[in-house]
Amino acid sequence: MDAVKRRSFLKTSASAAAVGALQTTPLGAQESAAPAATVIVVHGTDIPKMLAAGIAKLGGWSAFIKSGMKVAIKPNVAWNSKPEQGGNTHPDLVRACVLAAEAQGAAKITLPENTCHPEKSTFQASGVADALKGTQGRLYRPAKEDYQKVEIPKGKIAKSSGVPKDILECDCLINMPVAKHHSGATLTLSMKNWMGSIANEDRRAWHRDGLHQCIADFSTFIRPKLVIIDATRIMLNKGPQGPGDLEHPHELILSTDPVAADAYAATLFKKAPFDIGYIKLAHEMGVGCGDLAKIKVERIEA
């Protein structure tokens, strides 16, 4: 019953926007062939302009945010590290996205972030606190009571997790990581970024029980409408905290498929996507498509 509904829905929306269809595809569906995915790669130096160009390619902001929606953005602002060091999502990107959500008439814009360093210094050093001044975006570190325990029905190891309520209750969830080296998980990309949301005890449990599988498990549950990976500069080693050696691809990676976005981003580090445990597992669990051969990469200049 459910499947039929989905198929008919796919048919009707296919003519409208292929991308929109992808985003509503229930991702655990094992019986269907792996969905082909589209990744938009924007090259440039002006971050707000790059974001605007990328979003235009995906059908414009109205495809994601409508007036009155609650928007939650998950940047990576975990470390006491400066924007040019590449440890955190670039403040210009966070600001541009919040301003766009404001322009769309979002009712509430929250950016919950469970920082690794003390939040005050982290938000300040990362430049994100300053970037959000004068906007409606509320960057904060969730306290214990801001979390809610949720079940992860398709999780193989991670069966439940504490997730900030603002992320659970929003109408539009945007995942906005920075691409960088990670000592434990090889690379921090979009799926790994959710570890910056969940409660500390779950973070520790994931490491204990099998990091890559838990990241993939959680990805079966959390459904960002949009993934924007900041690859304007990427940290090649000493991650996730840095400071490490940097490279500057000057790219933003946009997709509605987190696995596809991660798969492309892995290539920036000269890695095969399936060499990253959680990309392979998430692909196998049907979260999205991590097979580069089936991903359509559209490059634009901005």
Binding site: N80, C116, H117, P118, S121, H182, S183, G184, A185, N200, R203, R204, A205, W206, H207, R208, D209, G210, L211, H212, K238, P240, Q241, P243, G277
Partner: protein, 444 residues
Amino acid sequence: MFTRRNLVRLILFALFALLALGVLPEAWRRWSVLLPGLSPLLSLGGALAARHAGLLAVLGLPLLLLPLFKGRFFCWRLCPMGFAAEMASRINRRHTGLIRRLPFVGKGLALLIIGSAAVGWPVLVWTDPLCIFNGFFAAWRTPLTWASAATAGGFVLILLASLLAPNIWCHRLCPLGGLQEWLTQLGNRLRAARGTTAAAATPDSTLAHAHAGRRLFLGFALGGVTGAIYRRFGLRAATAQARETPDGDHEQGRGRQRRHGARRPQPAPVRPPGAAGQAFNALCARCGNCMRACPYGLIMPDLGTSGIDGLFTPVLAFRSRNPQQEAFCFQDCTACTQVCPTGALRPLTVAQKQQTAIGLAHVCRKKCIAWEKHEYCVVCQEYCPYHAIIEVEQNGVMCPIVDAEKCRGCGACESQCPAEPIAITISGRAPQPVLAHPSPQLPD
């Protein structure tokens, strides 16, 4: 009772209590050093003992000079502890004469403190009233354990004693009062020598001066000897503890050595950054300023891990000692080093703090997820601000080893180690070495 004098004292009491409580905005908090610093026993005594006169020592000067001219003006007009003791004393009107037969213990105490400070190992500094007053308010900022309650105990004890034997504190026991009593006498003597007092050269007063001189000498000498004895035992304990502290990653050999029933030594306590080396227990007045200053609530009163003379001194309780704690000694923070009245903690800049190793991490491989269970982890490496965790590949995963030349003992690794029980823990270093390796985190 409600005189203008008491109103001023009440206002001062409230002001000092506010400072001591640490409820003021963060920019104001470092002024909590003001109250205990006013006591020359703490600030000047500390500088004398630590052989290190910082700007703080200046704080003690007013109370060293004031009694020369004004007697115990501070005690009767300004001191918040004295105000509280006096108010408590007023409740019991029946036993006001009780203390008459008691000698002024505080005068001896003051000499003992100064004498031992001259040797570098001061004793009984924690009897200072301003420090006791401060310690009482410290208790409300740390989680209520019996250790924190004990630091508050001094204040309560003084009030109780004042109830039972009115005025016993200010007139008989207080070392700061004792010091001022000495200085008052000195002032009188100086004035007498200049002939401003008529009764300058009666035989009685000459005899009294001779007595005073002998007592002064005896008091200082006793203090010096006590300090020297304390140093002897203190140094021995400190070296014994240093021998137990492993250097860096050590797992293989040591486990075997200790196999047969040998008691596992407790890891050395981690002191706040800037801590004086072996004489720390002697120098620390237990005023609680550092505990309140720490924005992360890491610093706790010690309960015996640093010996009996280290009771209630500040130690950093990372997650293995305090399961609720998920913070570590953050690399950009120097709050605790700025508020110590005695110089037991020296003020550090951020750059100095980042070069100072307060402790050393070590990995217990049997507990480590990567070493033992071959899981992807190295969270310790993730969190280490100093790149002090070396990764080695073993069974296809990266495993942590501590680089003793880079580890500052900040506890970032311990704060998030997912192993149960925690596989990477910090043991303290005393004296705290200044590392040659530059900090990758240094602000430019």
